[in-house]
Structure formats: C-alpha cells, structure tokens
Amino acid sequence: MVIEVKESMPDFSISIDNRITRIRFRCMASPCEVLIDSQDLALAHEIAACAVGEATRIEHKFSRYLDGNLIYQINHSPGEFVELDAEADRLIAFAFQCYDLSEGLFDITSGILQKIWRFDGKHPVPTQRQVDELLPFIGLDRISYDKKRLKLPEGMQIDLGGIGKEYAVDQITGLLRNQYKPGILINLGGDIAITGMRQSGEQWFIGIEDPDRSQQASSMLKMRRGAIATSGDANRYILHRGKRYGHILNPKTGWPVEGSPRSVTVGADTCTDAGIIATLAMLQGKYAEEFLERQGLKYHCHR
C-alpha cells in the first residue's frame, strides 16, 4: 500500500562530514543514524531508503504501540490462536529460548508492568498490591505456542521491544552487508552494528554516553566488527524514599532491580546477542559485572 509507506517512511537527512556520509532519522522512538564510509550521495540515498525502510517495516510490524499490526492482533485476541508468519515465528521462538536461558528473567510478557511503573519522574511508585495484581499475567510459559501459532490468556500481552530494535539493527546490517562494499555503521538509538571495516583500515569509534552528562561521550569504544548494544537509560528512573530505581523491571517480582548499573554496553557478534546480555546484566543488579565477566564478551558498565 503506497500511502502507508509514504506515511510511515520517516524523513531523513544526509550530511557529509570528514569523509563519512551520515544519514539521520527517527525510528522506534529513538534517534537513528547510518554512517557510510563513502562520500557518494547517490549511494547514500539508496542506503537510506533501504535502512530506513527496513527499520520502519520492523517497527510497524512488531511495535505494540501501533494498532492493527500482528502484535496488536495477538494482544487483542485472548484465548485465540493467532497465526504467525515466518519472521514473527522466528522472533517468538527466539524469545522463548531467551526466556529459558535466563531462567525467566528475560520475558516478553512483562511489558504490562509499565501500566503501573512510569519512569517519567512524575508518577509515584506503585503499591505492592498493584504489583501483585499484575504478576499472575506475567510469565512466558503461560502462553500457548505451537509451531507458528500463538495464544495469549486473557489479560496477558507481549512486547517485543526488548529485542525489536537489536533485531532491526542486525537485519539492516545483513541487508546492507550483502549489497554494499563500503563499511557501514548502523545505529538505532544506541544499538549499533557495522558491516565491515572502513576502507582506510581505520576502526569505527563509538562514544558511550555518560548517563549523568548526556550529549557528552564519557568513553570511547573501538569497533572492527560485530555489534554493540546498550541497556539502561539515564533519563528513566524513579526517586522513591531516597532510592533511585532504574527502569529495568524484574518480571518475577514486578519491581525494578535494585543495584543495577546506570547502563551496560556489551559487544558481541550480533546486536541481538549483545542486547540480551546487556539486559540480563542490568537484571543482575549488583552482580552485573560478575555476570558480564562470565560471558567473556567486551563490555562497559557504568554505575
């Protein structure tokens, strides 16, 4: 449908700076950019169409904030099986694997907690009763999932926000890597992957934002290959009785994790892997570094 594509295709801007072409756009509620190790504007337009198109496609298909898409259909058909296409089936299967691997800490059904937890600095901390009322509706193992079909019990919802952005980064990276020779860096709101090295053989330099001083890079990370993802958000927290609660919620208790770092950045082969490990590290609270050490991946943990 042409109209929908026009509506959904966000604006993007292209600029060239220091031999690098930069495409900026907004998607998935985040600032996004694609850096190309080339100064070819025609190429940049092609790549922009591809990257922005794929990012938007994934957002429209899997965002739970949009009406009428597959996630909406699943979340609004309690007690009914909803057929999944191949891509959705892969994502759901992956979510189940992450749930199993993390002993239930990574749970795409925990999104309903956001009804009571609003990390905007205005809303108060919910009561234990409010939390207890929601807990019976959380737990991926309560969902019926056959091959290619999914059924939610009444009151439950799924939210692929925890993997969607990282998945989009990997998808775009895969698309661009196959088609274009110059090195390209894809950055969707801090989740980053590169298709290859820069032509000069230089590495890509990534600045990691200091949660206390946003807009200013607090440390620098060099990338030759692979992907990085960050979990944690300096601007999303609740101050309650002198305690600062980060926005990472434990699906088992319904409460934010205490003692978790401000942010965790992880490097891995794929952005999806990096994102899952970063999220799990946040969920480990004060054991985040211990957990990250064990994974044998590069990481940066900001407290």
């Binding site: 208790t253 994790v257 003692g259 969920l283």
Partner: protein, 83 residues
C-alpha cells in the same frame, strides 16, 4: 540481584510460595531435571537412551529368535519369522 521490599510481608509470601512449590515438586517429581544450560552431558550422543541403536536392533533380533520375550525398549513385533 537482590530486591528487598517490605521484608516481612515479602518473606512471608515467599515462604508460602516456597512451601507450595516444594509440595508440588515432591508430588510431581518435576523437581528432577536440569536447566537448559546444564544439558552438556545429556547432549552427548552416548548419553541418549537410543545410543548404539544398531546394537539394540541386533540384540533385539537375537533375543527375539532365542527367547519368548521381546520388546519393552521398543515395539515387541520382530518382523521376523524366526520365532
């Protein structure tokens, strides 16, 4: 990660939960088992119940033809006129 919120009620609730879970575990034996990442040993081919399947087939055939019992591990029929 340790979340301490309202320690008394939480402990009480967890204890009840624990007691309930233990009873269920004992009743259903579902307490047996391993976590997904503890399957390294069970993933070894030699640990499968159907490892050495040709030996199992050969034995089944020999014993089917020499004894009055068959099956158990698999189906009893032998597809063989030897007994």
């Amino acid at each position: 990660m340790i979340t301490i919120i309202n320690p008394v009620s939480s402990f009480h609730r967890r204890f009840q939960y624990l007691a309930l879970v233990s009873v269920l575990l004992l009743a259903s034996c579902s307490g047996l088992g391993v976590k997904p990442w503890q399957r390294d040993i069970h993933a070894q081919q030699e640990m499968a119940m159907d490892a050495d399947s040709l030996d199992i087939a050969v034995d089944a055939h020999i014993y089917f033809s020499k004894e009055a019992s068959s099956g158990g591990q698999g189906f009893a029929g032998g597809g063989c006129g030897c007994n």
